[in-house]
Symmetry: C2
């Protein structure tokens, strides 16, 4: 669905490989680059960004922006550990942790928004912000 301009290069496989091995973990472009260099790759950071952009466009990789000034996070989209049709993400604004929430209740929302409001939600990009359980216990403030 977007393979018109795609060469199968070593670097492409390397970037995708890191995401696959991350197993649903959300990592930044910088981390992708660092891990590849640790593995002996000589890939350039610009190439990492360019490949990530392509992979996101192809739908193989998801991109999350947690905040302004913060680095964007990427995760492998075809990861079974995170079904993006029934999995939403919650970010705690206190501790910054990211939680995966798998619940049909949430998937229902997407359908509701589409049918009632004409808005096609992209679950992979949508993030709920709030306070997680442990943080709300800690701070009675």
């Amino acid at each position: 669905m977007k393979n018109s301009t795609g060469y199968k290069t070593k670097q492409r496989s390397e970037v995708l490989g890191v995401l696959e091995k991350s197993n649903g973990e959300h990592i930044t472009a910088k981390q992708v680059h660092e891990r590849l260099e640790k593995e002996g790759s000589t890939i350039g950071s610009a190439t990492v960004y360019r490949q990530l952009e392509k992979l996101v466009e192809e739908g193989l990789v998801r991109r999350y922006s947690l905040g302004p000034g913060e680095a964007a996070c990427y995760s492998y989209a075809a990861d079974e550990s995170c079904d993006h049709d029934h999995c939403f993400h919650c970010v705690c604004t206190k501790c910054g942790k990211l939680y995966h929430v798998e619940c049909d209740h949430l998937a229902e929302i997407a359908g509701h928004l589409a049918s009632e409001h004409g808005f096609t939600v992209d679950p992979s990009r949508t993030v709920f912000y709030g306070i997680c359980e442990s943080c709300s216990k800690k701070s009675g403030e």
Copy 2:
């Protein structure tokens, strides 16, 4: 609820004034700065960022990050046109437009996440990303 360290300065009023006048529109810190300069203000961009940060912490202003590398967007939170207990926000990733969706169905989700998953959603910060109706019609791709 966070007024312990707050001076009432001219710049604070100016920044807040721009957001109020924007009437629900989401604008970047840069735009806030530009509008103030056009009004004859001599406010510095650093002050705009510092005030926006404070206003967000106080809950008077909301911050959205539309994408990595993109500038963060701000909007006035106390806007009456938007009941934040039953109103969620949808941003179209194609045209960048922000839609207000008022629906009890969505408010229910917040309750569900809190009771079942222990996550207290902050509706004012949470944004749904996806494709709006007009954009999905345009691009059949």
